[in-house]
């Protein structure tokens, strides 16, 4: 266990990077995913088409490919960003597609009757989305979004492949010195599991809090 004590500082810092990436990319993905869903169910064909294309693109390209492209191709195109922000942006864009799918399944749980009732009361489209559709869709989407957030947290590990010093890459570094892969990566895996557990429990609590009384 000594090996963890000696390198506790860098490990904790790396864990901090992992958590920070997950939190920032997670929040951004939820915001962007909501916008994409709104476009997807809007009456404007161009917006609907763009949103559909967005989701299809990100669902059908591996995250690792996107990360490598962003890290190596963007600087070539003259866009210079530090590694970690680049990875966060790619993660957010990628997971937003899955968030959008989760929210869309939530939207489908809101009956057309309620939407029609809101139109009949004189709500504009935006008002009826904001006050009737989105609040109910988000409630139904809490658990699916939680699952996307867990996947996102696991996916932060891929950032190691493009040089971001997060938990997996720090574990890898430690292993190069200590050569104890089973111990080191088991501990890293347990930490990821703990993060997933926290997110899952959090989603469960939120779901209970916002559940519609029946």
């Amino acid at each position: 266990m000594n090996i963890f004590v000696d390198s506790a500082g860098p490990l904790l810092e790396a864990l901090g990077t992992t958590v920070m990436m997950a939190v920032i990319a997670g929040v951004a993905a939820i915001v962007l995913g909501t916008v994409v869903t709104a476009a997807r169910i809007s009456p404007i064909p161009v917006l609907r088409g763009l949103a559909f294309a967005y989701v299809q693109f990100f669902v059908n390209v591996p995250l690792l490919v996107l990360l490598i492209l962003a890290v190596f191709a963007l600087p070539d195109a003259g866009l210079l960003l530090p590694l970690t922000p680049t990875a966060i942006i790619v993660l957010a864009l990628y997971e937003a597609a899955y968030v959008a799918e989760a929210i869309r399944s939530g939207v489908n749980t809101v009956g057309t009757g309620q939407i029609e009732a809101s139109r009949a009361l004189g709500f504009t489209l935006v008002q009826s989305l904001r006050l009737v559709v989105v609040p109910q869709a988000l409630r139904a989407a809490v658990q699916p979004i939680g699952n996307v957030m867990i996947a996102l947290t696991m996916n932060t590990a891929l950032a190691a492949a493009v040089g971001v010093v997060e938990l997996t890459s720090e574990a890898n570094k430690l292993n190069l010195v200590e050569a104890q892969p089973i111990l080191i990566f088991t501990v890293a895996g347990l930490i990821y599991m703990a993060l997933a557990l926290v997110i899952g429990l959090g989603a469960g609590r939120i779901e209970k809090r916002v559940a519609i009384k029946r």
């Binding site: 009757g113 009732a117 009361l121 504009t124 006050l131 519609i212 009384k213």
Partner: protein, 259 residues
Amino acid sequence: MASSSTGTSTPAGTATAMVQLTDVQKHFGSHHVLKDVSLTIAAREVVVVVGPSGSGKSTLCRCINRLETITSGTIAVDGVDLPAEGRALAKLRAEVGMVFQSFNLFAHRTILDNVTLAPITVLGRSRKDARAEGLALLERVGIADKADHFPAQLSGGQQQRAAIARALAMKPKVMLFDEPTSALDPEMVSEVLDVMTSLAGDGMTMVVVTHEMGFARRAADRVIFMDDGRIVEEDTPADFFDHASSPRAQAFLSKILPH
């Protein structure tokens, strides 16, 4: 008909057209659903619409507040032609209350919130005023004690009364009811019809799609019989139910009236 575009109502006492449909045609694709429908409904008038399933009754209601667009013809509410999509249309919809067969209450909001949401959002009323008026309306439909409940916690009859209160909160000029009691257990039908009868007594202009003949006899000024997208017959309730003239209306009545 002069200067109808201003939308100001004519002096009280004059029999004015609250709803006027002129040569309305409605298609769903190639399916012709409303055929040459012309209909004038006076202010304070209560019109009951009957007819076999699929005859276009719901479509008629939905066209009056433009939940459906019409193919041709005109529909005017209180002298104003229905505007195209947009803010003006939203404003007009706010003047036409609609009650659905399936209640359609907002499931994530309390009953009182259901009633106050549109006045606050659409009319810009203050929260305080909207709540006071909302509570008064819930009182009127007999469910003030359910103000803080959620829709799914209410019976069907209570939900439908809440839906009526929600529509009334907009102070509509016309109320449309599309089979408001068809989804209810029999023992709850009368509590909803009682509310509607009292509304009719207060002078609300109403279009009611229903097969509740008791309500029609009690509250309606006129019964309209639709078949295959056309208005086939209109008459007072007494005359319609006792001696409908067209064979189609007679055939329809023989099916729904108790023998």
